[in-house]
């Protein structure tokens, strides 16, 4: 049986997931993820086309709270835990381009 996931696939999902892998990690993770996906082959023979998917185990629908303003977390307390803040906001490096 061919591997269910290639080294290039793993490099691709790592990029999507904002992770950087070394060449060694790429090799190792490719083998490990392939082992998990190989195990998943046990459901391949199951015909579930007429079975509805379960997204959630408890039948609750459209849960809404009352439309009432309540106090939220204190802004200063939240920003005190941020890696960087400025003028009451989170501070990040440039989104476009690079820092000079």
């Amino acid at each position: 049986m061919s591997s269910p996931i290639s080294r290039d696939d793993v490099a691709h999902v790592a990029r999507l997931a904002r992770l950087e892998l070394t060449p060694d990690e790429l090799d190792r993770f490719t083998g490990q993820l392939a082992a998990v996906l190989d195990h998943a082959a046990d459901v391949e023979a199951l015909d579930v086309t007429d079975v509805e998917p379960t997204h959630h185990p408890y039948p609750l629908r459209n849960v809404q709270r009352a439309d009432v303003v309540v106090p939220s977390c204190d802004r200063d307390e939240v920003l005190a835990e941020a890696p960087a803040s400025e003028d009451g906001r989170f501070r990040v490096p440039p989104v476009l381009g690079e820092e000079a």
């Binding site: 999902v13 997931a17 950087e20 993770f29 459901v43 579930v48 185990p57 939240v78 820092e99």
Partner: protein
């Protein structure tokens, strides 16, 4: 020193013992063995003393601090404690101090409990041995060369070692019940939605549920009642008050129908150790002797639980853990622009198991693979629910092992993720179905280490589950 939470609370409420003295006794036990066991990421000695003094002051003033008055509780370090570091045993949260308390923390305080520390876990609750912690593994108090199970291994070890009579963990695929089994304590996964997840750092939102650890079923039931019940801040919270699970503990199992799941007892899934199977048979015989009708029964699709779980849980995790990007809290590793900063932060902040699951989940959700993996897993989840429904037409509860084996050696399974994942094979089906399940310590295996027997019940069947668990406990010598 009183051993059960109920005895502690009763003595504190009556003014016979001070909560402060109870805290000091437990801090002393922690002082003796914590270096060896490493159950805690943080021992909250000062906070616990202050809180105990407040409980004592309430008693002195003639008011009742609540059903858990003065009882030390160890809290898994993935539940938010305002102003106190909450790490998920991950470098990426570093010393993050949440600006709010989890609902479970508020309710523990309202019940008079004293939080004594934050316990170690597999990073972001991903693991079955507590070896995936950024702060080093927790050891099994029964044999420190062995794992305590996981991911709530710190909480299980804290109760087993006598650091606290009670603890809370979270159970996504068995993370309360499996460590409870390996550490010889009671561990409960309530019905999904029975306990609020507000302030629980999310792993897999459709599976995560907070649950108690205790030495006795009655203690676990008291803790359950303190934390369960509707919370408007969790949209998946069941809109009902807490089930009164303590009320029927003494009623026994006469006339009840019990099914032993054959697939998990040697007749389907391989790798269930014979000494563990033997203890399940002893438990089944004990329930029969107590008046229950006990039969072996088939729940065929539970054998696909592992596959469904290891696609669904990583998929949900890959989405939930996207929030750890170095912007708003925790670690930041700087980069020349925001995306480079996100990548550098996540690469340095997450451990290998978390990276594996994020990538597995990202893959399972990605274009071209969604139907084959995530979509299929969700349909298999329905099959499991349907098979349970059929079984519960014939039986009030089901019985199985909690864990395939007793506690294994540290390091024995770290190199091969799939070998580690198989530890959850008996516990995962209840998470997929949202059903309640409890692990009751039931003797020891051939190696002298604890074995847990699992009692499974249908959705909202928490009362029956506790009742059968109490009967099992009484059947022990």
């Amino acid at each position: 020193m009183a051993t059960t939470a109920l005895e502690v609370a009763s003595a504190v409420r009556a003014g016979e013992r001070s909560a402060r003295a109870v805290v000091e006794e437990h801090l002393a036990v922690i002082g003796e063995r914590e270096a060896e066991v490493h159950a805690f990421n943080l021992v909250m000695a000062d906070e616990a003393r202050e809180r105990a003094d407040a409980v004592d002051a309430a008693v002195a003033a003639g008011s009742d601090p609540g059903p858990l008055a003065g009882v030390p509780v160890a809290l898994k370090d993935n539940m938010c404690t305002r102003g106190v570091p909450t790490t998920c045993s991950s470098r990426i949260l570093a010393q993050w101090r949440p600006p709010y308390d989890a609902t479970t923390v508020e309710r523990l305080t309202a019940a008079g409990a004293v939080i004594i520390g934050k316990t170690n876990l597999d990073e972001f609750a991903m693991g079955s041995s507590t070896e995936n912690s950024a702060f080093g593994p927790t050891k099994n108090p029964h044999d420190t060369s062995r794992v305590p199970g996981g991911s709530s291994g710190g909480s299980a070890a804290a109760v087993a070692a006598g650091f606290a009579p009670l603890a809370l963990g979270s159970d996504t695929g068995g993370s309360v019940r499996q460590p409870a089994a390996l550490c010889g304590v009671v561990g409960v996964k309530p019905t999904y939605g029975a306990v609020s997840r507000y302030g629980l750092l999310a792993f897999a939102s459709s599976l995560d549920q907070i649950g108690p650890f205790a030495h006795t079923v009655a203690d676990a039931a008291t803790l359950y009642e303190a934390i369960a019940g509707h919370d408007p801040r969790d949209s998946t919270s069941i809109p009902e008050p807490a089930a009164p699970v303590s009320s029927w503990l003494d009623d026994g199992v006469d006339g009840m129908r019990v099914g032993v799941i054959s697939e998990l007892s040697g007749g389907g899934i391989e790798g269930i150790a014979s000494d563990v199977q033997a203890r399940v048979r002893v438990a089944a015989d004990a329930l029969a002797a107590a008046g229950a009708t006990v039969e072996e029964t088939s729940v065929p699709s539970v054998i696909y639980g592992l596959t469904a779980y290891y696609l669904i849980a990583p998929a949900e995790a890959s989405s939930n853990l996207a929030r750890y990007d170095g912007v708003r809290y925790g670690l930041r590793v700087d980069g020349p622009n925001t995306e480079a900063m996100n990548v550098a932060t996540r690469t340095a902040g997450f451990g290998d198991e978390v990276k594996r699951r994020i990538m597995l989940g990202t893959y399972a959700l990605s274009a071209g693979y969604y139907d084959a993996y995530y979509g299929k897993a969700q349909r298999v989840r329905t099959l499991i629910i349907d098979d349970f429904a059929a079984a519960y037409e014939k039986y009030d509860v089901l019985l199985s092992p909690t864990s395939p084996t007793t506690a294994f050696e540290l390091g024995a399974k770290v190199a091969d993720p799939m070998t580690m994942y198989v530890n959850d094979v008996c516990t995962i089906p209840s998470n997929l179905a949202g059903h309640p399940a409890i692990s009751v310590p039931y003797g020891v295996g051939d190696d002298g280490l604890p074995v847990g027997v699992q009692v499974l019940a249908p959705l909202m069947g928490d009362v029956t589950m506790f009742r059968v668990a109490a009967a099992l406990e009484r059947s022990l010598p």
